[in-house]
Symmetry: C2
Subunit: 412 residues, 2 copies
């Protein structure tokens, strides 16, 4: 199930010059399923990423961060990214780090580079040992099958409880240069990214200096993967990686250029599409909810209010039921932690319907108007705080029986 299921899946995914993709069926959790992905990069590529803030961040996250930091300090550039599903290699302590390093070394051996030039990513069950033997055995196949046009396979290879692959391509013209970008993402539960999503990879063929790419990935993540929530659970493995292969003609050396601004806009748009695709395919989701909070003193308090609404099980079940029980939204605003909030100035809209006026029920509000909007599969909640000029938007989904079923059965 997904909102407006089936979701449109792009079938015209475009190869990005400077990046090749291979995959394999390692049988990590289940047989006959793509579960290992390898992306190899041109020597000209730069890579940057944002990662989970979870203190129990997974072993591969720790290693990927260390390898990226080493590159910034002058080590050899990243040659490949490696992803496995079926096991998160999180909550696994020193043993988990050793196993992740072992998989990096195995891939480095196949590619003739150093282990430090590999970025590992894992997603799946936490607290179970990584079956590194299966992964190492599958890597030669993934490397042998490398192709530039395997983006759809890549999107499939990183799926877990996702019902559909998530991928899209864009071609944009920036200052006379044609830039091709393709991206994939995965994730359907344990989604409340704080620095990134479960997994997202976005590549394009411009040449971008490392500090510029570092700024760009943060810019895009803050406006996409960091604005979504499904169940409020910030995963141990969230990673969003941006790859500039350097194989095209556009060169961006500074953030203070029109080229950077145009590239940032395009990358952010595609990132937002990939992030919203995760919400639309949220575990058990039947509705896609946009929550916009305006008039806050700062963005932080707007996000607090938006997440408070987006995480409330009572609000989410009301959306599932198409029930305009909208007092639950006021309640969630009230406990969002904005201590000096003056509720008498607060206004609440559901799409075009003015529900609460100056902190109370709008005298002109009619239940049937609320009912009409709640029955839609895409709904916008708009809150006006009347405290300042800041605003923030968060994307989420409803909470259905299917969510409980999926998560009560996940390991079986």
């Amino acid at each position: 199930m997904a909102v407006n299921s089936p979701l449109p899946v792009a079938t015209d995914l475009k190869p990005v010059a400077g990046i090749e993709i291979g995959f394999a069926e390692a049988g990590i959790k289940k047989p006959n399923r793509k579960d290992v992905l390898v992306l190899t990069l041109a020597p000209t590529a730069t890579v940057s990423g944002v990662f989970t803030m979870n203190r129990f961040c997974a072993a591969p996250v720790q290693i990927a961060k260390a390898h990226l930091a080493a590159v910034r300090d002058g080590a050899k550039p990243i040659r490949a990214l490696m992803v496995n599903t079926g096991n998160a290699n999180a909550g696994t302590g020193a043993v988990g780090l050793a196993l992740a390093n072992e998989s990096c070394a195995a891939l480095a051996g196949l590619l003739g580079c150093e282990a430090g030039q590999i970025l590992p990513f894992s997603t799946g069950v936490i607290l179970e040992p990584l079956p590194v033997g299966k992964i190492v055995a599958a890597l030669p196949q993934a490397v042998a099958d490398q192709r530039a046009d395997s983006w759809f396979n890549a999107a499939e290879a990183i799926m877990t409880t996702d019902t559909q692959p998530k991928a899209a391509s864009r071609m944009v013209d920036i200052a006379g240069h044609s830039v091709t970008m393709s991206g994939i993402s995965k994730g359907a539960g344990m989604i409340k990214p704080n620095m990134a999503t479960m997994l997202g990879f976005l590549a394009f063929d411009a040449k971008v200096a490392q500090p510029v790419l570092d700024a760009l990935v943060k810019h895009a993540a803050d406006r996409s993967f960091n604005c979504i929530t499904i169940d409020g659970d910030t995963s141990t493995n969230d990673s969003f990686m941006l790859i500039a292969t350097g194989a095209g003609t556009l060169v961006v050396d500074s953030v203070d250029t029109p080229e950077y601004a145009a590239l940032a806009a395009a990358v952010t748009e595609l990132s937002l599409f990939l992030a919203q695709s995760i919400v639309r395919d949220g575990e058990g989701a039947t509705k896609f909810i946009t929550i916009t909070v305006e008039g806050g003193k700062d963005v932080e308090e707007c996000r607090k209010v938006a997440y408070s609404i987006g995480h409330s099980p009572l609000v989410k079940t009301a959306f599932f039921a198409s029930d305009p029980n909208l007092g639950r939204i006021l309640c969630a605003i009230g406990y969002a932690g904005v201590d000096d909030l003056d509720v008498d100035k607060l206004n609440l809209y559901l799409d075009d319907v003015w529900v609460a006026k100056d902190g109370g029920r709008n005298p002109d509000y009619k239940e049937e108007d609320g009912q009409r909007v709640m029955s839609q599969s895409e709904i916008t909640v708009r809150v006006k705080l009347a405290r300042g000029a800041a605003e923030a938007t968060v994307y989420t989904c409803d909470l259905s029986h299917e969510y409980v079923t999926i998560n009560a059965d996940y390991r079986s």
Copy 2:
């Protein structure tokens, strides 16, 4: 459904000298259902309470707080408490305040006192106008039927989505004085009290000075109603009221006495029973979970970690499924917001089973041991942070299909 359903309901509820109870069927939301409750107090009584921290606190909460404050400033003592179900009178602005005051005035007229001597309480749907006419019409019946032994009826009259009434009595001997205490509570969803529960009323027949009672209610709430969560939604109407009728022989004038200590222990024990009863009857609950976090730097961070576990939909669905998918607990600890947490020192136990050792899977942990504990209806999660000497305990329940069903259907 409730944990270990049906819950034991005390049938030997004891009258508390100095308090009389009446109820009525006002038909606020449904006919033929007790939905109005009146508790009248002896002139010797003192009353104190703790209330929701939700900024959208309901009209009756605002009025009850104001009336209690006036008493502390020398106004006439509280004569009666009045409760209605079926409508929360929250998110109702100035109109809601006027309607709540109207109901206070009506009851005051019947009792021959001032409106300021009445404390109003409401619970039910938010954002809908209070049908004050129905309440006012029902009050004479509630006043006419006042009896000392109607505690069970009182517990029934405040139920909403509760499947069972929640009530208990205790008789304790303090310094040679026999003290009788009876209490009731209600609530099954929108439960993450921050200063109190949905509704809890506890009365006893000792004579207690106002400042002492103010300290006592906070002491008891912090160790009971403020340690539970069902869905993380802090209600607009949470109130926990403590009533010392003054009709018995025990007098407590200071917190620095053995009598206060004994009374505080007894009141806290009964409060905890009433609070835990709410969790056991949590919407759709099939399991009762105790989460104890030890070794924190302060109580606040222990509570953060405990609530992070207790609110995680993924942890709660794993409990529902009896699935020892315990990495989800580590994940929730990791995003609890303890920024300098050293996960390599963390240990996790499920009852007597040592699951995670020094941040990773305990090599001696066996899946079947975790499975055995997860299959129980009462489970203790114990986290050792190894950062200090503070600890905290939170009580919660699982997240089941039934929760979604109840909250998707609540208003229909």
